[in-house]
């Protein structure tokens, strides 16, 4: 007897990827299960129609443009033309530039450009030592945690790292595992093979499966850590349903049963709990009315009162994020090279609006929320040369440049990572010869450093700071070795430790710290979920195969 047919088996069946034994087993199941038989007939019918129709819809270009005509248009386009579309804008910008220069000149003698206020969580960094200058930075001492040093030493000539011993000791056996969500106490929740698992108590390593027979998506904890919201693809429409789960009763309820109005017929994609309560922000995609000029909207639901209301409609909504308990920020895409950000309060008042041109693809020149309660927004500015990291103070509208890249390097790949105490920024740069470096910048003493690794070439896979700014955990993949690595950098004594290594193409990702900074969870690709105890130096395989 096999389980009901899922996408993996179903597609493999009519794409001819099952072996004879698997095929016979599935066909026996189909003979006994009218529901699966009916479903497979639908899929097979559509599959055959798509195959039959496919060939007719492949269009060839009528001509291939000449590169010599294309390239100069891109390369020689004056910067000012990209920014300013007409003369009056240019004149205004000139005036603004003069005023800005005067403003900066007035500021200069008084204090550094950026005023960084350490947050109240910074008690753990009292023994903080400044990061050395790049030129004097010693190679970090690399010690290895959880695996044999001889197996996993990250040198360019090493053989691919063998599987670690822990690989076979997962608490939950699963093929595909989501990132983890942690509540304030450190209780973990995640999705493995479509099933939602919730830890029975923080750090208990025992999990309860929430069996709703649906394909679920990663959950999000409420501020008090007692409720979860997650999307579930249980129904036949293909549209996910937003589900609500409470820890005390274990009850699972569709959000539509908890609010005072029918959910609009649009696609909700993620959930943002307010930091201080049971309100949720819901970005939605799709027109609310057929003739609407907007294609997206933001909704606010209060799970105590059950009241849900529309906050704002938008076009090309990109992201929504709480800035503090009363305000949230949304970004919208205003074109190929343009992002606009706007902040609203709970009574739908537009608080401020800002935009930034960006000529690059995806990660370049984008906004990252920095110290939300201080109302600062980090801007990665790859539009100007040299590139800069700027900070926008949303209370005053001032933009201050805190870091200017020199030496011909540019930002690359991952977003910059700022410690929660606002002291150190970690970012990736690429040099003129294509070499990658992970650099650090201390915003207090304005010194830069480099995270030295014993890899000739590597790809930075991102990372995460713990809440006190004591540790930065990050991933690196080394194509020459064919392995992925997790490193832990401790800025206090400037040491780097190798936490884990794994052979293969998958990278370590989705680093999530417990609030107390003792444990950090992360995935290897989508196949494994690990927990690392920073104090004990122990690794635990939470889920994997």
């Amino acid at each position: 007897m096999i389980r009901h047919i899922n996408s993996k088996v179903g597609l493999a069946y009519f794409e001819g990827r099952l072996d004879a034994a698997q095929q016979a087993k599935l066909e026996r199941h189909l003979a006994d299960c009218p529901a699966c038989r009916s479903q497979m007939l639908e899929h097979q019918t559509t599959h055959d129609l798509l195959l039959a129709a496919g060939q007719d819809f492949s269009a060839e270009p009528s001509r291939v443009p000449n590169w010599s005509q294309v390239k100069p248009q891109q390369a020689q386009r004056p910067l000012w033309k990209t920014i300013f579309h007409n003369g009056s804008q240019l004149a205004m910008a000139g005036i603004a530039l003069v005023l800005l220069l005067v403003f900066i000149w007035q500021l200069r003698p008084q204090q550094p450009i950026l005023e960084v206020v350490p947050s109240v969580t910074a008690t753990g960094v009292s023994n903080y030592e400044p990061t050395p200058q790049a030129t004097t930075l010693p190679s970090p001492a690399v010690s290895i945690i959880g695996i044999s040093p001889t197996d996993a030493a990250p040198t360019a000539t090493a053989e691919p790292t063998p599987e670690t011993a822990e690989r076979n000791t997962y608490t939950i056996a699963a093929d595909e595992i989501s990132a983890v969500a942690l509540n304030g106490q450190g209780r973990a929740a995640f999705v493995a093979d479509g099933t939602l698992y919730v830890e029975t108590a923080a750090h208990s390593a025992a999990y309860t499966a929430i069996a709703d027979h649906a394909q679920n998506r990663p959950p999000v904890w409420s501020a008090d850590g007692q409720e979860l919201l997650f999307f579930s693809e249980a129904d036949d429409t293909g549209l996910p349903v937003l589900m609500h789960w409470t820890a005390d009763t274990g009850r699972l309820t569709p959000l539509s049963d908890l609010i005072d109005r029918p959910l609009p017929d649009v696609s909700f994609r993620n959930v943002h709990w307010a930091a201080d309560g049971r309100e949720i922000l819901l970005p939605a995609f799709g027109q609310l009315a057929q003739d609407s000029e907007w294609d997206s909207s933001v909704w606010l639901a209060d799970l105590d009162s059950g009241h849900m209301s529309l906050v704002v409609e938008a076009t090309a909504l990109k992201s929504v994020e709480w800035l503090n308990s009363d305000e949230f920020m949304m970004t919208v895409d205003c074109g190929m090279d343009c992002t606009i950000m706007m902040a609203y309060d709970r009574v739908k008042t537009l608080l401020w609006k800002a935009y930034h041109e960006r000529p690059e693809f995806e990660a370049a020149s984008d906004f990252y929320v920095l110290q939300p309660n201080e109302r600062r927004i980090l801007i990665l500015n790859t539009f100007d040369s040299p590139q800069t990291v700027d900070v926008l103070n949303t209370a005053t509208g001032e933009i201050a440049t805190v870091l200017e890249l020199t030496g011909g390097v540019e930002f690359a790949g991952q977003q910059p990572y700022l410690a929660a105490n606002g002291r150190i920024l970690v970012y990736q740069v690429v040099g003129e010869a294509g070499e990658t470096t992970i650099q650090t910048f201390n915003l207090e003493d304005r010194t830069t450093g480099t995270l030295t690794l014993q890899h000739e070439q590597f790809t930075f896979g991102g990372g995460a700071w713990d809440s006190a700014g004591n540790y930065f955990i990050y991933s690196v993949t080394d194509a020459a070795i064919g392995a992925a690595y997790v490193y832990l950098w401790q800025p206090g004594n400037n040491t780097t430790k190798l936490v884990q290594a794994a052979a293969g193409e998958a990278r370590f990702q989705h680093f999530t710290w417990t609030v107390d900074g003792r444990y950090v969870y992360y995935n290897l690709g989508y196949r494994e979920l690990w927990q690392y105890d920073v104090v004990a130096g122990e690794l635990r395989g939470v889920a994997g195969q």
Binding site: N6, E42, H43, L49, L50, A59, E60, P61, G238, F361
Partner: protein, 195 residues
């Protein structure tokens, strides 16, 4: 597949190498953009823009992560998303789309053995694809019209191979509902060879 040396020359600013790569990779980028945008001008703009960006930023291309085509497709898909959002493309009359398409291709799209009914069915399939949610539409188009593996699809649209499979599966189910809403069920099944 082009040699590493050619890519290196292009990265170092060799216009001839860049031109050769542009000529080779423009058609696949255009085909993908066209199937996602359903508009010739938009597809031309996106293909040119995506490929120009790729060639001018070859230093960011990591061959260890996958083929250049996958990276180019990732850029193309993202630009298509932006383009769709910006323009909020109105529904394009499919008959007009087919007529335009016939003008562009050397081979007749509607060979004599194709009956009007078959053409109508194919038109309905493509119309239904346009009604799918964005991620499902991308997955179906990359799978059926560009013959990519689920691993490649995942890499291009930014999800796992399993999620890509799940999107194709959900899209098939939704398409069935959309198509049975447009055609008589018997005709539909007959067209697919399930009498």
């Amino acid at each position: 597949m082009y040699s590493t040396q050619l890519f290196r020359r292009a990265e170092n600013g060799d216009t001839l190498a860049q031109g050769e790569l542009f000529r080779h990779y423009y058609p696949p980028s255009y085909r993908l953009a066209y199937s996602l945008l359903n508009n010739q001008e938009d597809a031309e703009e996106v293909a040119q823009d995506a490929l120009t960006y790729a060639l001018m930023n070859l230093a960011q291309f990591d061959s260890a992560k996958g083929a250049f085509t996958s990276w180019l497709y990732t850029i193309t898909v993202s630009r298509c998303r932006n383009k769709r959002r910006r323009k909020q493309l109105a529904e394009i009359p499919l008959l007009g789309w087919l007529v335009n398409e016939k003008k562009q291709t050397a081979e007749p799209l509607n060979p004599p053995e194709h009956t009007a009914a078959q053409q109508e069915e194919k038109t309905a399939v493509y119309a239904a694809i346009q009604k799918l949610p964005e991620k499902q539409r991308e997955a179906i188009i990359l799978r059926y019209y560009h013959d990519l593996s689920y691993g490649d699809i995942g890499e291009i649209v930014g999800c796992s191979a399993n999620t890509a499979q799940s999107r194709v599966w959900l899209a098939q189910k939704r398409l069935y509902g959309l198509l049975t809403g447009q055609m008589e069920l018997d005709t539909f099944r007959s067209a697919a060879g399930h009498d």
